[in-house]
Assembly symmetry: C2
Homo-oligomer: 219 residues x 2
DNA sequence: CTAATATGTTAGATTTATCTAACAATTATA
DNA sequence: TATAATTGTTAGATAAATCTAACATATTAG
């Protein structure tokens, strides 16, 4: 079992690696965690003996497969918690990060399995970030909300957040489905409505309520 | 801010003190926490310098007012968590203790305030144990479920668990209210129904569903 | 009331996670 | 390319929470 400190190093390695094609420097980690380099250095030796990190002096740090899996499971707990707090406890997104930073270290598979169940086994969180499954596997895309895209871009619908029946019915009526490609014609400056076009629909206006719930990828 | 270890000592002191009129020995604590006496001894010195415990060599340990308050707040978090897990996440009572032991250490007043709100500000948990309020104040009785009482005993209704409208309506119809005194005439051996008598009701049969939700005190 | 037993204390060691100071290797730059 | 700047490592110190061994005080029993 990993300590709280070890878990934080694993998580940091995982997220930093995502930005730097799998390689992380001691200095990056040190700054990211606000922990001095010698401390990071010795923790890396420790994680190496635990086969979680692959480390050679003066070379970049890499997570082993085991390390990646354990990190993904912590991130899973973090994202499930955030989503649970927002969806089931009515917190605002800006409030949940700090709480999730603590709850992600709770040791209880049942607790997170229950959250997962109550949330309907989501694969993507409402920021468009993937939620690893209980084996640490995840979709390797980071999606963007339609509401965050810029005028002129061509995007593909990748996922939908908070699939209430009413929302799904709405999408059906508008003939919006996964994989659909659409072009952003313009964005209404006043209320941030997004005006899009796609096959059989030369111009549709999507309110922020809708564009916040559609996750897309650039094409 | 207290460390996780310190919080566990405070909680243990509080619960042990409840059984021994406020005084706890180093040995009791040591056995209860499964931590060796010298460790407990030095932690008590530390908590004394933090004004949480009053300690003199070879004398029993006592929590200060400050210590009692901080302990009560941890117990509040524990009991709210247990209740939340059962009522809102469909856990069984036997599953929640371990999870609550971890969640009680989460630092986030907002998180527990939200649980409290979603549970309707309960003052007593479904075991009949009081839940301290956010100032650490609590009702100083431990109630028993009616279902746990024995034949012949005279009891007073002290609290009601899980106050659904249907249940309150039922109690109204039967003229059962807080403060009502009733005698337990007998207990049906087969299904554990409780047969009671009280003013204007010479004999009422209460099913386990009901007797599990009525908390009483002996008179 | 003494001796045996139980309880409590002190001293010093260990582990984990952190730090600072000093030194070494690598990378960037003049 | 030589040197300066950055990055990484080693050595040793510190604080928290635990332990064991040895000793001291209290309590209980004969």
């Amino acid at each position: 079992m990993n300590s709280l400190a070890e878990e934080n190093y694993l998580k940091a390695l995982f997220t930093l690696a995502a930005k730097n094609n799998g390689e992380v420097s001691v200095n990056d980690l040190s700054r990211h965690l606000d922990i001095k380099m010698p401390t990071v250095n010795s923790m890396m030796k420790k994680l190496t003996t635990k086969k979680l990190v692959y480390y050679e002096s003066y070379k970049p740090l890499k997570l082993t497969e085991k390390g990646k899996k354990e990190a993904a499971l912590i991130i899973r707990k973090h994202r499930l918690t955030e989503m649970y707090l927002v969806e089931k406890m009515n917190f605002g997104w800006e409030q949940v990060h700090e709480i999730a930073e603590q709850i992600e270290h709770i040791k209880s598979p049942e607790f997170f399995a229950k959250m997962d169940e109550l949330l309907g086994y989501p694969q993507i969180d409402p920021h468009g970030s993937p939620i690893p499954d209980k084996n640490g596997k995840m979709i390797w895309k980071e999606y963007k909300k339609l509401s965050e895209c810029t005028k002129g871009s061509l995007v593909k619908i990748a996922a939908v957040i908070n699939t209430s029946n009413d929302f799904l019915k709405f999408l059906n009526e508008k003939e919006i489905h996964l994989g659909l490609k659409m072009k952003i014609k313009s964005i209404e400056p006043f209320d941030k409505s997004v005006i899009v076009s796609y096959p059989k629909h030369a111009s549709e206006t999507l309110s922020p309520t809708v564009s916040e719930r559609l996750l897309v990828e650039k094409v």
